[in-house]
């Protein structure tokens, strides 16, 4: 089971989500569980609860998972996705209040050192909390 905290990127645009995930992979490396989702089933902009659930399962780590979102529905759908996860996992998933691209890279940097869920969340939110 993955030890480092996982990162899930949820954007209305699949291009944004995938691009942010590419930055994490290329800049931070592959030691962090990572998944992304974005767009609606019709190929347009949007987010879906099912896609977030799937991403959470892909990036799952027993250390927890942080979710980076862009705006509005991405956040509410992420919260609904958390509700759909098994109860014992719910407390180990947090939606972060940080910029989706920079936050994902910074969260992954923190996670890559084996940091706790709380520290990873703090790294993701640092740019908004100053």
């Amino acid at each position: 089971m993955a030890k480092n905290v996982g990162i899930v990127i949820v954007s209305h645009s699949p291009d944004v989500a995938k691009g942010a995930a590419d930055m994490v992979r290329q800049m931070v490396g592959t030691h962090v569980p990572l998944a992304w989702c974005g767009g609606n089933p019709a190929g347009g902009l949007g987010t879906s609860v099912e896609a977030v659930v799937k991403a959470l399962e892909l990036a799952w780590s027993d250390s927890g998972v942080v979710i980076m979102v862009d705006m509005g529905g991405a956040e509410t759908n992420s919260e609904m996705a958390i509700e759909m996860m098994p109860e014992k996992r719910r407390a180990r998933i947090v939606v972060c209040n940080g910029p989706i691209v920079e936050g994902a890279v910074m969260a992954a940097t923190e996670s890559s050192s084996g940091a706790t869920l709380e520290r990873v969340r703090r790294a993701a939110e640092e740019l908004y909390s100053r």
Binding site: V28, V105, M106, T109, S112, S113, A123, E126, R130
Partner: protein, 105 residues
């Protein structure tokens, strides 16, 4: 920051290195520097001048925010059990243009 530094009795080590990385300390080298700093138990600070101001080298947001330019000198100050190793590993990382991260890469 200063109040958190220099706890009495802890081993302390300093080092410095010139940033020869083209483009300065941009995202990728900043991430690498933070990752190497985090590998050590000791506290590690970084500064662009010998007298500071010192910032936490384990904080990626803060390290990136230094916007350290090409050819600037980076100063490291480590405090804790493995301070000597941390200070020399970080100087080596910068001197090697971020190729020597101590992992034999």
């Amino acid at each position: 920051m200063t109040s958190e530094r220099m706890k009495a009795g802890l081993p302390r080590a300093r080092s410095r290195a010139v940033l020869t990385h083209a483009g300065g300390l941009h995202a990728r080298p900043a991430i690498k520097l933070t990752q190497v700093a985090k590998r050590f138990e000791c506290a590690v600070w970084i500064a662009l001048a010998e007298q500071g101001p010192w910032i936490d080298a384990k904080s990626i947001a803060r390290v990136m925010a230094t916007k350290t330019p090409y050819m600037a000198t980076l100063y490291f100050d480590a405090e804790g059990g493995d301070a000597a190793e941390a200070a020399s590993a970080l100087a080596r990382l910068v001197e090697s243009d971020f190729t020597d991260d101590g992992n034999g890469a």
